[in-house]
């Protein structure tokens, strides 16, 4: 359809023989294959759904094109890939509504008069399939006893949705007020576990709903049955306030369904190297200091893609995201991280491991080719440098040589008396600072080396510490949710697991290597860990330290076999 030519006269839809469920009306009414997606659509022009159309190649119907005076219908029109060069991207992919089909106890698929809150919206809407007359689906009569069940698909770990959807409580409160306004004789009951009315004027709205006669019953129903004659619904619930089992006969039940991240988020996450929380929402760069920034620079979040939020919060976040993007674009230049990795082409073995561990996708690599760093995308975590065993990657300002020199210097004098550790710049090291400024007492034997991320700590650095006589070694970093470099600290876990295996194989007690996640606010934890490490240090004997020094010595490189040496050597003339 050409939206410039279409004048929305509707002649095409009038002759279209196809009838399909109307998605906008939640399937409660039908549409044609050619239709206006929703009444407020801009531009107001018809669209042709090719999945529903009887066929255009060869043309099996063609009636719509025949009646279109403006000749706005072009069957040869195809989707096209549009390429735009942009300086910033705002991700606002919205949400999907939870499908309650799997929660069979509520009978959504079995009983006509059990509907979702989205379907309720369409039924009560003046532009909906019933022109705003609230009728129950089974007999098209107006229900007078309506029940709302909260937290359907929210705060339910059993179905993998432990999070609060944020909007459902107030949506139900609004719905009860709407019903009370439209039909004062309806009796509304809300079954809930908590009403979360924490926004501006929300508590007032909740109180008005109660004053309007809505009954709020604390307890989620365990079962719904249908009376086969009246089609009424019998809801069984344990009222946790009274402690009694109650049965309510209702004419209609509305499931207040939760929301979830949009289904196509994985593709976008892959394209923009975004990380997700365990709930599937996109992870912001920092929950307090950069709440609209993605870890990938130049990408910002607005709305539900980042976390469940209502319209007001979404608008606020969208404004903030637009401002952040505007500030970036108007500056005309960007400051890139000084601590970035550099790859030595000569030393690169072309294995591609560095590209796999980079949380930012800042390393480009193809099989058989030398890896390369996109410096503008590199954030400087150092995970690549610690992973490369060929010494091909140098982290500017945190080179292997610099860090190993620090290890040796710290353990040069009386290493057996020291608790040696690595701490990440953003959390663990700051946790140590917090312990200090809070005057929390802990043993003075600890010596901590700062790295930007715990993922920068390579196996060689830990082994070197043991070779230098460290009785114990601590590797510490950010908690999983706080990792400053998206998820680089997952590499730390893998490396420490490998090191435990290696130490055990070498006859070194693996417990001498410890791993801890300490946030910048956890001064108490930092001190506790240091006390535990000190206790651990005291259990390490001089013999153990001496054994580790010997057992972990780097093995000399194998000499080439004699035959190969002979073959390679030039023949004396």
């Amino acid at each position: 359809m050409d939206p410039e030519l279409c004048n929305a006269c509707g002649e095409c839809a009038a002759v279209c023989p196809v009838v399909a469920p109307d998605e906008f009306q939640m399937g409660l009414s039908s549409r044609r294959a050619i239709y206006i997606p929703f009444p407020q659509a801009v531009p107001c022009s018809y669209i042709l759904n090719m999945d529903d159309c009887l066929g255009i190649n060869p043309i099996a119907c063609g009636k719509c094109a025949e009646v279109c005076e403006k000749k706005a219908i072009d069957y040869d029109d195809r989707g096209e890939r549009v390429i735009r060069e942009v300086g910033a991207i705002i991700v606002a992919t919205g949400l999907d509504v939870y499908d309650p089909t799997e929660m069979d106890e509520y009978g959504y698929t079995r009983f006509d008069n059990v509907i979702t809150s989205m379907e309720f919206e369409r039924l009560i809407c003046a532009g909906g399939p019933t022109d705003g007359h609230f009728l129950r689906p089974s007999d098209k009569e107006r229900p007078k006893r309506i029940g709302f069940i909260q937290c359907v698909g929210s705060r339910n770990p059993k179905i993998g949705r432990p999070y609060c959807s944020n909007i459902c409580c107030m949506n139900t409160v609004k719905d009860t007020l709407l019903l009370a306004d439209h039909y004062p004789d309806t009796q509304n009951s809300v079954f809930y576990q908590d009403i979360r009315a924490f926004g501006k004027s929300f508590e007032d709205m909740f109180q008005r709903s109660k004053e309007a006669g809505t009954r709020y019953i604390r307890g989620l129903p365990g079962d719904i049955e249908e009376d086969p004659v009246t089609r009424n619904l019998i809801v069984t619930v344990e009222n946790t306030t009274s402690g009694k089992l109650e049965r309510h006969e209702l004419e209609m039940v509305v499931l207040s369904v939760g929301v979830q991240p949009s289904a196509d988020r994985d593709k976008l996450a892959s394209m923009l190297t975004l990380s997700k929380t365990s709930d599937g929402f996109f992870m912001e760069s920092h929950p307090k200091l950069k709440p609209v920034d993605a870890p990938t620079r130049g990408v910002y979040f607005a709305g539900f893609c980042e976390s469940p939020k209502d319209i007001k919060d979404s608008v606020c976040q969208a404004g903030a995201a637009a401002s952040r993007a505007g500030a970036l674009l108007n500056a005309g230049k960007i400051t890139i991280e000084a601590i970035t990795s550099v790859i030595d082409d000569e030393l690169c073995s072309k294995c591609g491991l560095c590209a796999k561990v980079c949380p930012y996708g800042a390393i480009t690599w193809q099989k058989g080719e030398v890896a390369a760093v996109v410096e503008a995308a590199c954030a400087g975590c150092g995970a690549c440098g610690a992973t490369c065993t060929f010494g091909a990657i140098t982290m500017r300002h945190f080179t292997d040589d610099q860090l190993l020199a620090q290890v040796r210097a710290v353990l040069e004098d009386r290493p057996e008396e020291k608790v040696f550790g690595f701490a990440c710049n953003w959390c663990s090291y700051a946790g140590g600072d917090m312990a200090g400024i809070s005057r929390i007492q802990y043993p003075s034997t600890n010596r901590v080396i700062r790295t930007m991320c715990s993922a920068r700590v390579s196996e060689q650095m830990v082994l070197e510490a043991f070779r230098c006589g460290a009785p114990v070694v601590l590797v510490s970093g950010c908690h999983y949710a706080d990792c400053h470099y998206i998820d680089a600290n997952r590499q730390t876990v893998k490396r420490v697991q490998n090191l435990w295996n290696k130490l055990e194989k070498a006859g070194v007690r693996p417990e001498r290597l410890q791993l801890e996640w300490i946030s910048a606010a956890e001064g108490q934890k930092f001190a506790k860990v240091m006390r535990q490490m000190e206790e651990l240090r005291k259990t390490v004997t001089a013999d153990e330290i001496a054994h580790a020094r010997e057992a972990l010595k780097p093995k000399p490189k194998k000499k080439p076999k004699a035959a190969e040496t002979d073959k390679a050597a030039p023949t004396p003339s």
Partner: protein, 52 residues
């Protein structure tokens, strides 16, 4: 439905050994149920079950 395994873990701080569910592809921070240390060593797999 994701496949989960019950696997063995050992706390390297207090020595406590315990079993825990591991869902394929999960991304969870582990800590010792006894002493809360994060030094959790992942030992061998044990048995397979279905997770919700």
């Amino acid at each position: 439905m994701a496949t989960a395994t019950i696997e063995d873990f050992k706390c390297m701080m207090c020595g406590h050994e315990y079993e825990d569910k591991v869902v394929k592809g999960e991304d969870v921070e582990r800590s010792c149920p006894k002493c809360r240390s994060n030094s959790i060593r992942h030992l061998k797999k044990k048995k397979v079950e279905k997770a919700n």
